[in-house]
Amino acid sequence: MSDRVKVALYWCASCGGCEEAVVDLAEELIRLSNSLEIVFWPVAVDFKKSDVEAMPDSSIDISFINGGIRLTEHEEVVKLLRRKSKLVVAFGSCAHGGGVPGLANMYSRDEILRYAYIEAPTVINSEGALPKELSGGVGGELELPKVLKLLKPLDEVVDVDFYIPGCAPTPDVIKKSLETLLSGKLPPKGSVLGASSKSLCDECDLNKTKPEKILLKDIKRVHQVRLDLSKCYLSQGVICLGPVTRGGCGTLCVKGGMPCTGCFGPLDNVSDYGARALSFLASVIDYDDEVQAEKFIEEYIPDPVGWFYRYNLPKSLIKGRYQRQGGGVHG
């Protein structure tokens, strides 16, 4: 028992897909259980925060943390896990770059709460009640975690040793990452595990069908076109973010008839994924004059942030919409 590697798994602001991805390891999970000892995994195993607090510092070998940091509770737990762990691994797109929940950084905390609890058409809240940090309940006073001003990627809150990319990481990527972590031969700190160092095009079967020059007069959404699955999607006018995105997923989406949306994030030499994606798109737009190019953007790119920063807005240089007046102490 004692020679097994002690691991903790934790989720922050995430959809639960990353937990599912671990379960998707299937038989592999059973095989791994011989070498791993799970000491904390709220979604599956009944250990409490107090159990972790009771552990000596650095007694957990590896903590896998998924989800972005959205609540004070997340901050609290990941800081605790950092203290108790030798290695912290950001697991999946949300922990890595903020992920889809990170797109909420386009709105202020007040806007988000107001919409979710009052304005959404499916909500009836005539009193206009919003979550409070302290509220009187049946069993006495109840304390709720605070919502942070912005969602943050994990490495903005604690020191992160490695990253496992993907929304969610594929079983193959998780397996390879674990093999690397358990091999004892660790790559340089900050490395992205289990994936490729080249962009997705490198492993894509359709790359060889890509013409040398792609020049687009318009962009088609997936539902507007019958894609020829044997030809590079970009050359068919569908924006595939494969060229900007780290490979390693085995082109699962492309094989399934969907263009890459970028969940594996940027390559090592790229500091801002969306900026790169935009400059790549600019290079395939076939308009020379500014007026037409602007029309093109208006017509075909109504949501540039959702498109190019879908998985990493909080980690980008812009981080989110500029918010003039702050509010709250966090973030």
Binding site: S197, K198, S199, L200, C201, D202, N207, K208, K210, P211, E212, K213, I214, L215, G242, P243, V244, T245, G247, L267, D268, N269, V270, S271, R276, A277, S279, F280, A282, S283, V284
Partner: protein, 657 residues
């Protein structure tokens, strides 16, 4: 070069820098920065003692990076690179910091802040210098021959100059004869010498020159290779006459029953279906116009075949292609007149007696449709009143914004044509401004504006109406006298706007030459390098760079030729230091860099089963577009790698002071 050893040299530039900040303080600050071994200030770093100071330090302190904080690198980067070379260092281990233009000149009134800024800029350079590496350029030989595209006066002059310098020239002309627009002119301003008389001897010189080969009735369809070693693919259009057999006797033309409007006379005259472009054509070889030939349209006739004494007629001729290997390309395709029918208010194309300036040239020419008599097209009568409209389409927001640069002088010459042929005629010239700027032009203007019955009126005609007798009726608001004038003219001449030829756009894409807002070829520098392009080895001669009159065209063409001769005489081309370099380990072969390269320098090819980008080092001009586009950061530009640039940014943003 694992150990980074930096020397920092802060120049006073006399008082330019030293009068605002204290360079000694900047040097002192730099001395405390990481990797800096020695830092100094000196009153004139570019002077020979200053240079010697650096050179000796490099040896004494074993420096492997040099930072000079002085003026713009545009000014003295080559100077200090020379110092590094003399000291045995690669010149690209130099980093200039511009503390003059970027600092003391613009912040003269806040010297303390300027000094802080100088310290920051130097600190950024120190961070960057650690990431500098040796860059070596590559040389490739040049082929000592040239293609000249366009056989007008510009192409003729450029070809002759190149050929006289011993360079083999291939002159490509789209029409069947060289000569261009100048051959259509009757006389030239301001000297009024006969255009053909001064042009045709040059055309003959071209045809007889041992170093010039003319490809007439031909066009450039593709260019590959790079500066110094271009492969130019030329399409020889079918003429249906075997020019190698033809002697130019003209028997076929004489007997041909087919008729068509004569292009050379701007549609005013008539030519045969097999025809010479004009009598003095060079080469004097006919072409069959298949649209009007009875054999091609109706399958009858074949008279030309019967009368040809040498059996040169070949109805089955097909287009041919040749590939020319040359070191340089001179583009001399000239200009085209703006489509005057777009100026609907003037009725060109609708009213027979509204003609273009070029049509007037043909009417005035001895070999023109009227044998030199100025007669109005509608009824062949002599006009008594002639209106000449300047800036027809030029300097007009709705048409062409720029000035045609020869319309004014041409109009003055046209006044002469009319007064010379029809002394009693009244000539009204409607102008916006008379721009008589060239040598002798003002005198030319003064001479003809004072002639009897010649009136220069400042204003543009409003809508022109046609009377029953073909005369033209219109109002002009004269802004000099503040009066509305009612005019009835027998003939109206439009001095039309000038635009690039229609075939320029496809050719431009083949040559990868940029264009200006008017669509003309963009020169490398508007003042200092007006006959070169951003593509090495491609030169501009004449009006394709912008509207020009004949003297300016000839001067420009001669300069282009001289520049091409200089380029070819050097014997080699050298790659730029700022090359784009592919990291094949990161490149996924996504191909996005290929179309973005304005020089066509990148290709993607298979290598060990993987697709990777490859940069042609001679074609690459170091613009950095591919490096900015590369989604994976595999493409980096020498001297401007992400690491180098970002290390500077981090310091300047206050990340690591």
């Amino acid at each position: 070069m694992s150990d980074v050893r930096i020397g920092v040299y802060v120049c006073h530039c006399g008082k330019n820098i030293g009068g605002v900040i204290n360079p000694a303080k900047v040097a002192e600050h730099a001395g405390k920065l990481p990797n800096v071994v020695i830092s100094r200030d000196y009153v004139y770093m570019c002077s020979s003692p200053g240079q010697l100071l650096i050179e000796e330090d490099i040896k004494k302190y074993n420096l492997n990076r040099v930072i000079v904080a002085a003026c713009s690198p545009r000014m003295h980067e080559p100077t200090f690179q020379g110092v590094l070379k003399r000291a045995g260092l690669n010149p690209w281990l130099l980093q200039m910091v511009n503390v003059r233009e970027h600092d003391t000149w613009v912040h003269e009134n806040v010297p303390e802040k300027a000094e802080e800024k100088a310290k920051d800029l130097v600190a950024a350079a120190v961070a960057r210098a650690a990431h500098l590496y040796e860059i070596n350029t590559v040389r490739a030989p040049v082929v000592k021959s040239a293609v000249v595209i366009g056989g007008g006066i510009a192409g003729i002059r450029a070809s002759l100059d190149l050929a006289n310098a011993g360079i083999k020239v291939y002159l490509i002309e789209k029409k069947q004869s060289i000569g261009g627009k100048m051959a259509q002119l009757d006389k030239t301003f301001p000297t009024l010498d006969c255009s053909q008389c001064i042009l045709t001897p040059l055309m003959v010189d071209v045809s007889r020159h041992p170093n010039i080969e003319i490809y007439a009735y031909s066009e450039v369809v593709d260019v590959s290779g790079s500066a110094g070693d271009f492969k130019v693919k030329v399409r020889l259009k079918p003429t249906y006459v075997d020019w190698s057999k033809c002697t130019g006797c003209g028997a076929c033309v004489e007997k041909c029953p087919g008729r068509a409007p004569k292009e050379f006379d701007e549609g005013l005259g008539v030519r045969k279906a097999i025809y010479f472009e004009f009598p003095q054509a060079v080469p004097r070889r006919p072409v069959i116009d298949t649209e009007h030939c009875l054999w091609f349209t109706k399958g009858i006739c074949k008279v030309c075949e019967k009368v040809c004494p040498v059996g040169a007629i070949d109805y089955k001729q097909v287009e041919r292609y040749v590939e020319l290997n040359v070191g340089a390309i001179v583009v001399a395709i000239g200009y085209e007149l703006y489509d005057l029918s777009k100026l609907s208010e003037y009725g060109y194309g609708k009213f027979k007696n509204v003609i273009s300036g070029l049509q007037l040239e043909r009417l005035s020419s001895a070999d023109g449709p009227t044998r030199g008599k100025i007669l109005r097209p509608s009824d062949g009568k002599e006009p008594k009143t002639v209106g000449i409209v300047l800036c027809a389409g030029s300097r007009d927001e709705n048409h062409v914004k720029y000035c045609c640069r020869f319309g004014c002088a041409a109009a003055i010459k046209h006044v002469y044509y009319i007064k010379h042929a029809l002394p009693d005629a009244k000539v009204l010239v409607f102008y916006t401004d008379v721009r008589a700027f060239g040598k002798g032009y003002e005198e030319f203007y003064q001479k003809f504006r004072s002639e009897e019955n010649v009136f220069f009126i400042r204003g543009r005609p409003a809508e022109i109406f046609e009377g029953r007798d073909g005369s033209l009726i219109f109002d002009v608001y004269d802004s000099n006298t503040n009066q509305l004038i009612n005019v009835r003219a027998d003939l109206v001449v439009l001095e039309g706007a000038v635009v690039p030829p229609k075939d320029w756009e496809p050719l431009r894409r083949i040559l990868k030459v940029s264009c200006d807002p008017g669509g003309f070829a963009l020169e490398l520098h508007p003042k200092l390098r007006p006959f070169e392009t951003t593509s090495d080895g491609i030169f501009l001669a004449g009006a394709i760079q912008g509207p020009k009159d004949i003297p300016d065209t000839v001067a420009h063409a001669a300069a282009a030729a001289a520049s091409a001769i200089g380029f070819l005489a050097k014997g080699y081309v050298e790659s730029v230091p700022y090359l784009a370099v592919v990291n094949e380990d990161l490149c996924s072969g996504c191909s996005l860099c290929v179309p973005i390269c304005p020089y066509g320098a990148i290709s993607v090819s298979e290598k060990e089963g993987k697709r990777v980008a490859k940069v042609d080092v001679i074609k690459c001009k170091g613009c950095g577009a591919c490096a900015a586009t590369c989604p994976s950061g595999a493409m980096q530009q020498n001297y401007f790698t992400d690491k180098q640039v970002l290390s500077e940014v981090v310091v300047l943003a206050g990340g690591a002071k």
